[in-house]
């Protein structure tokens, strides 16, 4: 029966051939290719200072009968570094979302757990199907002075890590960019442009929560911007 074995990059790995004695005659293969006897200590396979390229399927066969005695899938990776977390409300006052990623890959599967606390209250962050590293929350209260505290924990077979964000309700509000930005020439007036745009469609209530827009422009031949 085969299973998965996770080891850190740089670790020394010893694999036993199932229940075989130390002095049994065995052959080890890595992804189907025989492994040289120099890596063996008796019937144990010794891999020193493993690197990512050594991930793969390792099998151990009894010497004469070629019976498969043991099989494992070796995955070489690293424990997670501190994850990068950000939270943002682009649809105030409906809610906000948090998204995260790892600064460096671990090369093995990771699971993420996120907790959101508002004062003493635990809130549920609904995970998005796509993308997977994102969840969203609906505001239950508005205009609260109580801070939100978001903790993201990432765990894999080799370790865990976490990060925390604390913020006010207003501090994370950031609308999406304006949509349908169009610049049209003005007939009979080559020195004028007519620029039009829309509120971002993600902003749910521009009447109650109006957005302010700033426009800058320049002819291509000049480096300096002008502001409207």
């Amino acid at each position: 029966d085969s299973h998965i074995q996770y080891e850190r990059v740089g670790a020394d790995v010893t694999m036993k051939c199932g229940s075989m004695d130390w002095d049994a005659a065995v052959t080890w293969t890595a992804n189907g290719t025989d492994i040289d006897e120099s890596h063996l200590n008796g019937s144990y396979l010794i891999l020193k200072n493993v690197d990512l390229s050594q991930s793969g399927q390792y099998s151990c066969y009894e010497g004469s009968s070629w019976h498969l005695k043991y099989q494992t899938y070796l995955r070489v990776g690293t424990p997670p570094k501190e994850p990068v977390l950000m939270c943002r409300s682009n649809n105030y006052p409906k809610g906000f979302y948090c998204s995260w990623h790892l600064p460096t890959p671990t090369y093995i599967p990771n699971s993420f757990n996120i907790s959101v606390i508002h004062g003493t209250k635990d809130m549920v962050c609904e995970k998005d199907a796509v993308p997977k590293n994102r969840c969203h929350i609906r505001y239950l209260q508005l205009f609260s002075t109580v801070k939100y505290k978001v903790t993201l924990t990432v765990t894999n077979a080799l370790g865990k890590n976490f990060t925390t964000l604390t913020f006010d309700e207003f501090a994370i509000v950031k609308p999406d960019p304006p949509e349908s930005v169009v610049a049209k020439p003005v007939p009979n007036n080559p020195r004028r442009l007519e620029v039009s745009w829309q509120n971002p469609s993600s902003w749910p209530d521009p009447e109650s929560f109006p957005l302010k827009f700033f426009l800058r422009y320049r002819p291509l031949i000049l480096d300096q911007w002008q502001h409207v």
């Binding site: 006052p93 239950l140 209260q141 508005l142 205009f143 609260s144 002075t145 109580v146 801070k147 207003f170 209530d205 009447e207 109650s208 929560f209």
Partner: protein
Amino acid sequence: MAAADSPSTALRRRDLCSRGIRLAGKMRADVVDLLDAYVEQQGLDASASVAAVEGVPLAAVEHWDEQTGTQRLLENLAAYRAFRALLAQMLEEQREQLGEADTGLGRALAAVLLQVSAFAYHLEELLRLESRGIPGEEGDGPPPPPHLSLFEQKLRGLGVLRELAQWAVRSVRDLRQLTKPSPATGAASGLAESP
């Protein structure tokens, strides 16, 4: 009974709302400046968490978008009346601490107190327009303040100013809601009495 607004009522409401919105906007900016000065002068940590203090109206609200116009006005009025009393108390405490010396902080507090009173007046006028009886104040006054240590007074002041800053933001949003036309009656949204 929400009869169709007379044009003059609608106009007066819109006028009161837009002035109220400007006043609340300025109030918020002044309170934020006051907060900075207060934190510095009182030697507090700006990031200190202050537990909800008794008697300070919390701006936090659930189902904000479902509130009726009358609810908004009544909640705002109750809050600003409370802030009026709280700020007056803070001014008193300032004078006790520092004697009669005229401080920048004292003057800033007094200026905000004035704006809070003015805003409360706007709210009362808006309620009058709805032919709404304005709730009396006598029973509403805060209970006589328990004797707080100097440090507790400072923390309380921090809590008051923070909530007031939030309320100012909320009030602008509330007043904007009041000026939105209601789909059914054409009168300002949410001011019809519930059946």
